[in-house]
Symmetry: C2
Subunit: 237 residues, 2 copies
DNA sequence: ACCTGAACACCGTTCAAGT
DNA sequence: ACCTGAACACCGTTCAAGT
């Protein structure tokens, strides 16, 4: 993914260059930052252009449309997984270690970009059998390679892939939403609209409100993940 | 939820009335239908107005903003759960039966409105501890009532609530997405962009493509749900 | 009381024109 | 080769005006 190119442009890499010399990669990176800072709602071609010191119309030289821009941002953010030293494309200590590392790596991506993650979760994938958040073919292929090498038959590997992606999507989307991140890829109204009628009519919720607000997401993630690995183990051979 | 009102207006209920007499409920219903038919992308105030035989600006008499319109649509669609004879607000045959019915009812809602469900899943909830897709306080309170009556301690009930919502969100969002529904609450480009480079570089995916495209979602849902109930059982007392 | 028309400040996108 | 300006067909939203 991400054919960066870098083109040996003679400039300090990773810096937004002086003035001209926009490039696709830099636009996507800026877009991801923009969403993280201001929310998807605020992202317009004109505003992103402004942030890059350029008219919005100039972006079309490098990015075919706003939709493509969003897809590109998803790709770029997911690319962090390739740079994560804790996650291996090739399993090194068995399939359980491999899945554990992959799951935790995706969680780190989600938590690093809580505003962008809903986009990772909900942008329509390139094929119907690609299941977010594992949307990169290289990782999906790596997933099946790891399970195949561990002796999983094809149907078991596919079942594992589906269970794994459902688990990640549900947990990470809700965790990121609870972080106060706007879970909606669409809009972001006020921080939190209080409950209109109050909680009088809902005694259990009222009693549990405090406890419901505690953050146990890390533990819950690990527990559910361990359970998932056990279920997957049961599918093997 | 949904203070319908109906107002004894002297007209055949449920029909879009002759000309005037817009009302909030009818706008929300039309909005849900519009999204289901044309996708969220296409929904604008002006177009929804046109569909109701009115200028878009007239909708503001009944709905404060487009955001509120979307929240209202989510509410109205989720209200189908109250009309579902298979789902009980009060448990009748123990907590497992109660959860099973609730989960299946939510799945029916998702499958009945695949284009709207992503909105249910991703619109920012009214409080941070409300976890989609179970976003109605009445149902959340009912959930805790059922588990409390079954002897769950508070922390166990909260853990169950979290596991239940993560499970539903992950499964249903991915199932609805695979249905060809546009999973994104934001946009809908072409039906499916084929993989750009082809599958040559991904041998496992290539081999498994057929199998990956098979729909086993109903069985997977039931299996994962059964497993979830076992995990929840283990939290009890 | 409820809907309409015109208006405002934006959008995404195209394209001829500038440098 | 790359960016800009003007333009087009839209948006959401407000509000005075109509009926």
């Amino acid at each position: 993914m991400s054919d960066s190119g870098t083109e040996a442009d003679g400039e300090i890499a990773g810096l937004p260059a002086r003035r001209h010399s926009l490039d696709r990669r830099m636009i996507l990176e800026a877009g991801a930052d923009f969403i993280e800072t201001h929310g998807l709602r605020q992202l317009s071609m004109r505003r992103l252009g402004a942030r890059l010191g350029v008219e919005g119309m100039s972006l079309y030289r490098h990015v075919p449309s706003r939709d493509d821009l969003l897809d590109g941002i998803v790709e770029v953010v997911l690319d962090d997984l390739y740079g994560d030293p804790e996650v291996y494309l090739e399993p090194k200590n068995g399939w359980q270690d491999y899945l554990l590392r992959l799951a935790r790596g995706l969680r780190r991506v989600a938590l690093a970009r809580p505003q962008v993650f809903p986009l990772i979760a909900t942008r329509p994938p390139q094929a119907p059998w690609i299941r977010p958040p594992l949307r990169s073919l290289r990782w999906i292929d790596s997933f099946f390679g790891a399970l195949g090498a561990a002796g999983f038959r094809d149907d078991a590997a596919v079942a594992a892939y589906r269970a794994f992606s459902s688990f990640l999507l549900g947990h990470l989307l809700l965790e990121v939403a609870a972080k106060g991140a706007d879970i909606a890829p669409v809009e972001m109204p006020e921080p939190q609209g209080q409950i209109p009628g109050g909680l009088e009519a809902y005694p259990h919720v009222r009693r549990l409100e405090q406890r419901l607000s505690e953050d146990r997401s890390a533990e819950e993630f690990e527990e559910s993940l361990a359970n998932l690995l056990n279920r997957i183990e049961a599918l093997r051979d």
